[in-house]
Symmetry: C2
């Protein structure tokens, strides 16, 4: 499903055709200083090399389409659907329509989604990258097409993310302050930047408190996990006890809560619980999960702004935005039972 | 925000231009049997009459774009976001990309969304209509553009909906069977077909049980309600007591649950609760809400199928599909306290 030869560059085409990179670039951009015959030749070879339908489409864009693509992990997760709603409404206010594309956190689906966006001739892309490898983003970088990462980041690309390290720190500190020492961290794979940074925050809180990190309680789960029963069972078998859980997402926290209930454990009496995303800011539930607010609404609006600045050119503004996280107090943190 | 003169028809243009409806139609469709001069004249007047940018765009479509528009009430509600995910993935499997457009259940935003879809030259529309009036659907009907309603319906248009009457009946019957007599119905405005039909099911269950419907307990709330505290307070002031609640959506049921907890009432000990949508089929919560499953996944897939059959022409198949609802047993129904 990956695009053919995502690394085909102007240079590659120049080498193959014998023309200079400059000539190839002008031919692909349909500039007047290249003869039609040469353009045709270069384009045919470019197409043959797999440059067509992706980069060529981008470089030959017929003006603007006033559309953007929003590529997200799983829009059925309220964390993403709230972002999607905000992005759609904010972008529409500027006259842009939004394609939605799901990746299911799958790299091949993500690659296909990027290709689809290019075929649709979008003006730009907002993407929450799977980050399993850097391949799809590397491909995007070759395209000269504006894009912004949302919720996850790397040092190279433009992004709007929340301060995940701070979020991890605040959640862990809240539990340490309540007296917990053995805090189970249910985090996502660390190739995901937000997961890696939250883990760093978790470690910082322990370090500041002068307490050794319980390494056996750092457990990785899939972002799309439907059931973490197996993870908790493994902890039981490993003889690792815990009095609190800090989960990568509210969805995962609710999931953990339901597993705890099945074991006859109450929250927070028998186990404290902190989530991440603060979905309850938009939905009222019969329980108040303590969570970290990532300020999704603000993130979404900022991502659209950063993208539109790129699309419209001119003042570039800040291209790497980090929004501070805050602790959203709920009723799921209490002192550990003695 | 409503489109200018949504009722402009071929006939109106014929009257104004003095040409026959047939000639106007052929001119707008760029048929060969009309001279270029006549086409130009007719199109200019059509544009002037407000026919351009919407119906003209649809009738003059330059072939297919392999895009559809999905117009939903509020994608941040998991009920809609789960449908959106299923629609997007299923449509993508057939090579179609999906624009997402939110209406926030607002008629003007819905009208703007339809216009945007037309400007984007989509091949078809899946819409959960606001239904406050029939104006936007009437406009859609003049366009000769395939569209399918999802989740709500009327006798005229193609739709894929769940059996809401049956759902209302099953929920109410489950509560009556448990011994409840005073069941609070928190339903949506009855101009929404699904709300009207669920109310009919509620009445049928009472009738079959030979019990008089407690009319004072039928209360209308906005679909997008963030807080139903006011509704419950009004019931208190009205002196209307109840031992169970049947809510229009799971979101509303959770909301009601949290209001009950604030009053020191437990579910189901002090009050039973049944929702609608069975969102828990896709998310694990620390409580099992008894709900009605609308089989959202199946509805979404069917809606795409019905739309694609229209777009691709040929065998029309069933255009009005009703999917049976079922009771999803949770832990929120118990006998009333004596």
């Amino acid at each position: 499903m990956l695009p053919k030869k995502p690394s085909v560059t102007i240079k590659d085409i120049a080498k193959r055709t014998g023309y200079s990179a400059n000539t190839v670039s002008h031919a692909l951009r349909d500039k007047d200083d290249i003869s039609e015959a040469t353009k045709k030749k270069i384009r045919e070879i470019a197409r043959e090399m797999g440059y067509v339908n992706n980069a060529l489409a981008a470089s030959l864009r017929l003006g603007y389409t006033n559309t953007i693509a929003v590529i997200l992990g799983d829009v059925s997760n309220p964390h993403f659907s709230i972002m999607m709603k905000e992005i759609e409404m904010h972008a529409r206010g500027f006259g842009y329509s939004s394609f939605l594309l799901n990746t299911n956190e799958d790299e091949a689906l993500e690659s296909a989604a990027i290709k689809t966006a290019l075929q649709k001739n979008v003006d730009g892309i907002i993407i929450c990258p799977t980050q399993k490898s850097d391949r799809n983003l590397e491909f995007l970088r070759t395209l000269n097409l504006p894009f912004v990462l949302i919720g996850r980041r790397n040092p190279i690309d433009r992004y709007v993310a929340c301060n995940d390290e701070l979020g991890g720190y605040l959640a862990t500190k809240a539990l340490l302050d309540a007296g917990h020492r053995r805090i189970l961290l249910l985090h996502a794979p660390t190739y995901i930047s937000s997961s890696k940074e939250r883990l760093e925050g978790y470690r910082r809180a322990y370090k500041e408190a002068g307490i050794q990190v319980p390494e056996g309680l750092i457990r990785e789960v899939e972002v799309t996990s439907q059931d973490i029963e197996d993870v908790l069972s493994q902890l039981d078998r490993d003889g690792e006890n815990y009095t609190a859980i800090f989960a990568f997402s509210d969805m995962l926290a609710w999931n953990a809560w339901s597993c705890l209930l099945r074991r006859g454990k109450s929250v927070p009496q028998d186990c404290s619980l902190v989530g991440f995303d603060n979905i309850q800011s938009r939905m009222r539930f019969p329980f108040d999960l303590t969570s970290i607010s990532s300020h999704k609404g603000k993130m979404s609006v900022e991502a659209v702004n950063v993208l539109l600045r790129q699309i419209r050119g001119g003042e570039d503004g800040a291209g790497q935005v980090v929004i501070d996280t805050t602790l959203a107090q709920g009723c799921t943190v209490a002192p550990p039972q003695l």
